[in-house]
C-alpha cells in the first residue's frame, strides 16, 4: 500500500497489540472492513487527507501504529459521520479517528496538523476557564500561538460589527465543578 509519491509501507513491523488497543478504545470492530471505499467516496474532506478513511481502517487492522498515529487524516476528520452512514459493515469510523487522536497525543508523536490541535487546546482552555467557550478569546489566543494575526482580520471585524462576538465571556457560576472535570 503506497500513497502516490509517499513512502512505501513495509508489512514487517505489525503491532497487533496497538490494533487491539484501538479496537478497545473506540469500541469499534474495524476488522470487518472490506475495503469497499464507500467511506472515502462519501467523506467531504478525503481530498485533503494523506490516507483515505478506508486506508486508516487498513492501518489499524494491520497494527501499523506509526502510520496510523502520524497521518493527517485523524486531524482533518471532523466526525460528521458521513462515512459511518455509508459503511455497509456498520463500522463507526469516526470513533476510530477519535481513539487514534487521543492515542497520538498520549504517545507524543509528531502531529501533522499542529494548528488544528492548537485550536482544540484553546477551546479546552476556554472551557476550563469559563465552563463555556469564549470565542473572541479563543481566536485571539489561537492567532497569537500560530503567529498569524493577519488572516481573518476582516472576518473578525465583520463579526464584531454584527455583534456575533461577545467581548465578555458567558460563564458558569459554579466554576469549581468545571475545574474538577479538568483535574480528574
Amino acid at each position: 500500500m503506497t500513497i502516490e509519491g509517499g513512502p512505501t509501507i513495509r508489512l514487517n513491523d505489525l503491532d497487533l497489540k496497538f490494533s487491539r488497543e484501538v479496537k478497545r478504545l473506540s469500541a469499534t470492530d474495524f476488522y470487518t472492513c472490506l475495503q469497499c471505499r464507500s467511506c472515502s467516496g462519501g467523506c467531504p474532506f478525503s481530498e485533503y487527507m494523506d490516507y483515505m478513511p478506508n486506508g486508516v481502517m487498513r492501518l489499524v487492522q494491520l497494527g501499523l501504529k506509526n502510520e496510523a498515529l502520524t497521518c493527517n487524516t485523524i486531524w482533518i476528520c471532523v466526525g460528521c459521520h458521513t462515512c459511518s452512514i455509508q459503511c455497509p459493515m456498520a463500522i463507526d469510523i469516526a470513533a476510530v479517528m477519535d481513539a487514534l487522536r487521543e492515542k497520538a497525543l498520549a504517545e507524543q508523536v509528531d502531529i501533522l496538523e499542529p494548528d488544528i490541535l492548537n485550536f482544540h487546546r484553546e477551546v479546552l482552555n476556554s472551557i476550563e476557564r469559563y465552563g463555556r467557550t469564549h470565542k473572541i478569546e479563543i481566536m485571539m489566543r489561537y492567532k497569537l500561538k500560530t503567529r498569524d494575526l493577519i488572516s481573518d482580520w476582516a472576518v473578525g471585524m465583520k463579526m464584531l460589527a454584527k455583534r456575533k462576538l461577545d467581548l465578555t465571556p458567558s460563564r458558569v457560576e459554579r466554576i469549581g465543578d468545571v475545574k474538577k472535570i479538568f483535574q480528574k
Binding site: 471532523v78 477519535d98 485550536f119 472535570i181
Partner: protein, 285 residues
Amino acid sequence: MDALPVTDVSYFPGCSLATTAKENNQSLIECCQKMGIRMIELPDWNCCGSSSAHSINHQIAFDLACRNLSLAPPDRPLVTACPSCTLRLKHAQHRLKNDPAARERYSQMWGRSFDPDLRVRHFFGLLEEVDLERLLAVNGHVRIDMSFAPYYGCMLNRPFALRSGSNYYGIMEKTLAKLGLRALNWGHASQCCGTFLTVARPDIVTPKVNMIMQGAAESGADCIVTACAMCHMNLEVRCTLKNPVPIFHFSEILSLAFGATRHKDWFSRHLIDPRPLLKSKGLTA
C-alpha cells in the same frame, strides 16, 4: 378554539446559541412560546463537550455532558437546539445507561445518581408532536411566499449507537410547506459545513462552503434555511461568492410566520443581510 396548554421544558442553549447565534436563541424561545412550550434555561449549564473536547479528550467531553445531565430537573425533558449538543448529551446518556463504571463516576462527581428516565430531546422532536394546523388556526400566521433550500448539515448522520429513533429528515420542508414556503431539491442538504476546520484550515472550508452556497443559488432558492447554528455561521463567514443567498435559522422563519415582532435585532446580526429579501417579500417594513 381553546388556548393551547403550556408545557414546561428545560432548555440547553449551548455556547453557539448563547453567544454567536443569539438570533437563533431568541427566535427559538419566541416560536416555542407561540407553540405553548415554556423554555426554562438549564441553570448554570456548561459546554456540552462537543467538537474540540470530544476530539482530543473523551473523558472531559463525557464529564462535561454529565454535569449538564445532572443539573436537569427530573420532571421535564431537557431540550436542545444545536445538533452537536444533542449528540454529546445523548452520547453521554447512552454510555451511562450501558456502563456501570460510568454511572459510578457520575454519582461520585455529581453527588446524585444518574436518572435513566430523563429525556434529552432536540427541538425538532417537540415540533413533531405539535398540532401545527390547530396552532395556526388558533394563533393565525403570516404566509411566507418564499422558496428555500433546506440545509441539515451533518445532523442527519449519527453514530451507530445513537441511530434508533427519528433523525428528523424532512421536518423543515414539511413544517415550512404549511406556512407557504416551497422547499427545493438540491444536492447539499446534508453536506458537512466543515465545523471547526473553519479556524485552522479555512483553505479547506472555503471551497466547501462556496460549493454549498453555489448549489443553493443554482437551485433557484430565495434563501437557505439551516437546522444548526454552527452551519449557519460557517456558511456566512466562509462564503466568498458575490451576492450570496441569505441564510436563515429555521427558528427565525418559524417565528416570523407565527407573527414575531421582535425580529429587528435578529436579522441585523446576519453577516449576509437578509433584510432586502424579507422586504421584497413584504415580510418586514
